[in-house]
Symmetry: C2
Subunit: 339 residues, 2 copies
DNA sequence: GCGTGTCAGTGAAACCTTTCAATAAGGCGG
DNA sequence: CCGCCTTATTGAAAGGTTTCACTGACACGC
């Protein structure tokens, strides 16, 4: 707990040790230039006074920090924490610290974090934005390197690393159609999320190419992409009369898929016999689920790592050019679609 | 990307707008004291120059920030992200931003984060430490409020919020003994983690109280508490001759339990018939697992929220007294132990 | 017409660190 | 004994913001 007194500064330490403040700074930053005797004296003074370097003052002088930040859409989604680990490993190699910020899918929170980070002069910001076209991002990228993760923009004003969501959605639904399904549900929301829209688009594409009827794909909207949303969607699905009810579901992510799966079990249905399920992301838990989950795999750690590398290039290379790295997703078939 | 020019400061804005720097500061901090005309002029100058407030300079002046940080042991473990959400909700109510830092169970990384945060004069630090008795923590708490999460210390120099791990371990193993098991594995590691040790202790207690033989509890050590560690432990378990092989396993957390569960399926065993499994934490995925997992539930969000409240009290209340909040865990029985 | 009060705007000081040119002290060769 | 070199130390300046006591200007009431 902070005592009453103002915390000690280099000046206080200098006084205590009977040296000039320049010497104290030298002890801190270039100890080899200070004689052993004085260094010791200064160090003791620091200990006595409980001196703690003031990072704000340092940064003010230095102009910037050795800090990266990742503003993520949902900490509770293992997909994003895996991406964060990829970023982290790249950051650690460059001796940069990484701060994680959870926007929780809220544009206001995201904006607050982005503003704070840019004012803090971090080296760079990675972000999975609620809306990649937000004007705030354009504003910030003028002075702070920003890389968009798990999204892209049509213009080329940002670097980004993402998987091809349309291709992923297509893979998922092609797989279901291959397995003979002709009434398929697409489960996800909110539609404001690009991920939700594009995976849907891919799903539609697959239907069209296979010559399925327009209404073969039933869109069941959800409020979010969490566990609970999947369960709720399950209830609604069960409510549909059997002859019109889809025999397969493609979920916008694995959390929703796992929630759906759980709801199916709870209400005594069997997966994949009563309902085949495909998820998206292939998080670790997908393979460990009640019925191991077929899912569209994204290279999560790699995605984070590449994004961080783009950021570091943007931060340090004067000839930097914006690049969009697109990863191709891949279907991992498991029991939830194989009967 | 930063242009060649030094970024604009209040002085530059003042010059551009033809006012004094004090007025610019007033526009920023007390706009009501500035006439509409000048305010507009200043705001336009800011826009023209792309002025971005320098947070370091602000903090230097102010002495501290509206920032909290949580240094977590493992971002990839949903238990900790749930705790983080609890912290977040309390922080948001007080209009504080929360930064998440992942120590990844590495004392060096943890130390680097803690040092940086204290030097940054954050309002407070929450931490699930690798070692709650680290001297660095004692050092830091002298000037920055620190609350220990998911651990406690014997002395009362810190606030902390945690669940009773010994009680939890005991619950888990009592349950297994009730179900008739007499050869039980305890799976977890590394022993440097207090969580691992105390849950083990609780397990031993349960055995002793039920009059089981000394060697009824077989400790299978793991390198960490992840998915992969659980799978690996599964392989080792299977390698044990059938007559000596445990018929039940208590895992130090759910990730390990889920890994173990998966390994059992992969090698054609049935849970709970071949092996009953109890996990710890009751993360959301536990209920959705291949075989829904019996687990020891901790109130994860509540734990985070209480910890944050303790921190905020410590940061703002001069009469603050350190408190140790202990939550009592509760067993949630599911199919992985019920046959 | 004068004192008083209000309002808008001013500018110096403080926050703490780092850097760098300058100084002091000491040793050495000539 | 002097000048020169090295090494240790110094102190002022800079970095950007906020605060606060202060100045002008203006309106109002008497």
């Amino acid at each position: 707990m902070a005592g009453g007194a103002r915390s000690a500064s280099v000046v206080d330490v200098a006084a205590e040790a009977g040296v000039s403040l320049g010497t104290v700074s030298n002890v801190l930053n270039r100890p080899e230039r200070v004689s052993d005797a004085t260094r010791l004296r200064v160090e003791k003074a620091m200990a006595r006074l409980g001196f703690v370097r003031n990072e704000s003052a340092r940064q003010l002088r230095a102009g910037q920090s050795r800090l990266l930040a990742y503003v993520m859409l949902d900490v509770a989604n293992p997909f994003f924490t895996d991406v964060a680990q990829g970023i982290d490993s790249a950051a650690a190699e460059h001796e940069l610290a990484l701060f994680l910020c959870n926007s929780a899918n809220d544009a206001g929170r995201e904006a607050a974090y982005l503003t704070h980070l840019s004012q803090q002069r971090v080296q760079g910001i990675l972000v999975t934005p609620v809306d990649p076209h937000s004007p705030l991002l354009e504003e910030i990228v003028k002075h702070t390197p920003v890389v968009i993760v798990d999204r892209t923009r049509d213009d080329k004003r940002f670097c980004s690393a993402a998987a091809d969501d349309v291709a992923g959605g297509r893979l998922a639904v092609e797989h279901l159609i291959d397995r003979g399904h002709t009434r398929i549900a697409y489960i996800g929301g909110p539609p404001s999320l690009g991920q939700v829209r594009e995976r849907h688009e891919g799903a539609l594409l697959a239907c069209r190419e296979s010559g399925l009827a327009e209404d073969a794909l039933l869109h069941i909207g959800t409020d979010g992409l969490g566990f609970a949303d999947g369960r709720e969607a399950g209830e609604r699905l069960i409510g549909i009369p059997a002859k019109r009810r889809p025999t397969a579901a493609f979920c916008a992510n694995d959390l929703v898929a796992l929630g759906l799966l759980q709801q199916m079990s709870l209400s005594g249905r069997t997966v994949p016999d009563d309902l085949a399920i495909v998820g998206f992301d292939d998080i670790d838990f997908a393979g460990a689920a009640a019925v191991p989950l077929t899912s569209v795999r994204q290279p999560r750690r790699e995605l984070g790592r590449r994004a961080a590398e783009l950021l570091l290039d943007e931060a340090s290379n004067p000839d930097h050019e914006h690049r969009q790295v697109i990863f191709t997703p891949e279907l991992v078939a498991r029991r939830s679609t194989l009967n």
